[in-house]
Every structure is written in C-alpha cells, then in structure tokens.
Amino acid sequence: MQLAIDTAEASERDQDLVSLVESVAAGDQSALAALYDATNRFIYSLILRVLGDMGSAEEVLIDVYTQLWRQAASYDANRGAPLAWMATIARSRAIDRLRSGWQDQHRKESLDVLGDAPANAASPEESAAASERQRFVREALNLLTPEQRRVIELAYYSGLSHSEIAEKLNQPLGTVKTRTRLGMMKLREALAPLLGEG
C-alpha cells in the first residue's frame, strides 16, 4: 500500500543538500553552517531518540557535524540521498556512545513511540514540507504490525542485533528475522513516493 505525498519539494531539498555537502568537501566553513542550519533538528532528534539524554546528545551532535566536515569528500550522491548519509553517520555515532555504557542508566526499554508520538512545538524554521514528511512516515509506520515496528525500532534506535532482539522479546530468531524483513519491505513499499519510486 502506498501513501500520497508531493515529492517535488523533497527532491529539490536533496539537491540543495548535495550542493552544500560538495561545498563542505571543498572546505567552505559557511556551507557547513548552512548544512547545520538545514539539518540540525532532524539529526539531533535522531541522536536524542537513541541516547535519551540531552547532554550526551549535544556532544554527539557536535561530533557528527565534525565528522561530516572531515568526511564530506567521501559522500557519493550515487549511493544515496545526503540526509540518508548523514542519518547513517549520526545513528552510528549515537549507537557507539550507547554501547560505550555512557547511557546505561537511560537505555530505552519501550520503543513503540514512532507512529503515535506527538509532535514537538513547531519552530519558525520548521517547514511545512518537513511536517508533511513526518506525517507521511508516521502513516507508513502505522501500516506495520506492532510486532514489526518493535523489532525494527529495537534494531535501529537501540542498536540491538536480531539475536539480541530475539532474546529480549523471548521470540525465536527466525520469527524476529521474518518480522524485520517483512516490516522493512512493507515500509519500503509505503515510502516509495519519498524514495522516488512511486
């Protein structure tokens, strides 16, 4: 099942971000500032979701953009959208911090929050397009069964492998793998318009 969304704005935004990443790769400090302005809320929200602690999320946020500054030249537009590349780096840094034990006291147990989480107060810079994407992805997540959502979120936000998830949920490993794969395939189908596949 596919949901409907206007993807023209998303595509234009991706192009803008590609240009910024290219300028950052060329050592343009103001481009990094612009890239930060355009993406910091998204990246910070992701890191905060993984770590659940503002202090460490702030440190990781700085680390992520410093890494982007150093590694912008390694970005290859043929291998994915810039925001996907940035999200991969941000998640990776946040999960590293989580695994370092720094966040043990804050480690999340319940992760069924994506589909129905309330929106934060809108800031002036939050664009209508961002809200639209947020709504669209939430609707896509709501198409998954609660079990499928749970295994995907445990892997993505808590950094648990499928065997760790199976142990945590007391479910057979095969069941966890199947739920994850089916959930991801359903998500991909629903999110196709955002991926330029619709």
């Binding site: 992701l46 291998r79 996907a84 804050h106 934060n120 107060a121 002036p124 997540l141 991926l195």
Partner: protein, 279 residues
Amino acid sequence: MTWKKVKAIAPLYVIGALDEKTAHDVEAALHSATPEQQRVIARWREVAALLPQALPLQTPPDYLRERLLNRIAEELPQTPIEIAVEESTLKEVAERDEKKVLPFVQPRRAESRTARWLLIAATALLAFTSAYLFTQRAKLARERDNLSRERNSLREELAERGRLVEDIVSPRTRVIAMVGDEAPQANAKVFWDTEAQQWAIYVFDLPAPPSDNDYQLWYVTKNAKISAAVFRTDERGRTVLKLTLPPDALAGLAATAVTLEPRGGSPQPTGKFYLKASI
C-alpha cells in the same frame, strides 16, 4: 557471501540488525559489488534513514552551532597567508640569531686539534639551538592563535549571555514560575517573549524519569491540552527547552503543566503532574 544472500539480508543490514560478523561479511561483499548492486543497498539505506523522519523534531541549544564552528575553525588548515606570515617570522628570527653569532675565523693550522674540535662542537650546538628556537617559535605562534580563538569564543559566549540577560529583564518578557507537584522540590522558570511568542524554560531539580517514561509539557487552554514538548532531565534534574507557541495554544492559554508519560509522550495527559503554573 553471495550477492543473493546480501540482497536478502539487506533490509536487516541497513537498520543494524545483523550480528557483527555477518555485517562485516556484507561490508566485505559490498566492496566488490557492481554499481547497480550498490544502488540496491543505497535504496535500503534510504528506507532506514526515513525512520527518524517520524520523530517529533527537537531543537538543539543555540550555543551548539557556535561551538561546532569554533571546533571547525581550529581544524582548518593554515591558509597561504598564514603560512607566509609564519615563514616571514621564522626568517626574521634566523636573521636576528645570525647577528648574534660571532664571526668565525678559520683557525691557523698551528692551533691545537682540541681547539678545532671545540669550534666544531660549538658550531653544532649553535645550529641545534637555532633549530630548537625555530621550532619553539612556531609552536608558540600556534598556541597564541589557539588562545586568540578561545578568547573570541568566550567573548561571543559572554555577548550571548548578555543578550539573554537583556531578554530576561526586557519589558516584553513575562516570567512564569512553575512549581513542583508530584516532585515538590522541582521548579521551573518560563521566560515568555511576548513579541516573538517564544518560551525558554529552565527546569531544575526534576528527577530524571524512569527509562520507560518521558516528561511531557502541555499548553492548557480552555478547550484543550496541547502537547508542547517531550523531554528528559539530566542527572542533576535539569534541562532547557526552547519553544515557539503555536497559534492554537495562544488562544485562551490558561496554564502550563508537566506530566510523566510513557516513553515518547501521549496524545493527551495520562500521568501525574510534576510541574504546573497558571497563566
């Protein structure tokens, strides 16, 4: 690992669900993947990267931007001008040191062998000292630059704090004190910029919530309770929230409150009140 296997487990790989060894095998296989195969994985990565798009957007504190740019400035390589300035400084030092060197007069053969060795040793010592001084000079120049950047950063931070104080004492700023209910020691101050309709909320002594809960701030109007933010406090029970009031909250805003909710927040308050204030 075969491409067929890689393709089958790609959805698990991109969300980090594979164990370390299998993930490593996938990465090794991707090194020799064709561009088309790379694109297949990239597409799955994009699916995974869309997951956080569903999250409620949180705004990081403003000072992080400054801190980031300062850190980047420290990492910037020297510009050609800086290099030229440093080389010029080193040349000046060399010339100055050269003037301090006594004229070297070729000793007559009649002089003793010991004296000749002493002169060679003195020359070597002089050369070594000069090289050491050059190095020290460059090191000091770098330290001076770092200190200068740090001073600028502190000045900016001070200016930012000055602006904050001005905002607080400004006639357009209204201060609301939130008092603890479930946690009596907890308190918070809301600084309401009534022109920009923005809130800066400083929370104190509100214990960090259990791992499966979050705090949630609400705008309470005559007709509705509107979610403002989902947040956690640090180990000192503190946090700072910066919010822009939505139009529907401004109409008939009567109170604000903080409740303890299940992780991620609730559409409507379900938990006990931890902080509250009438407006």
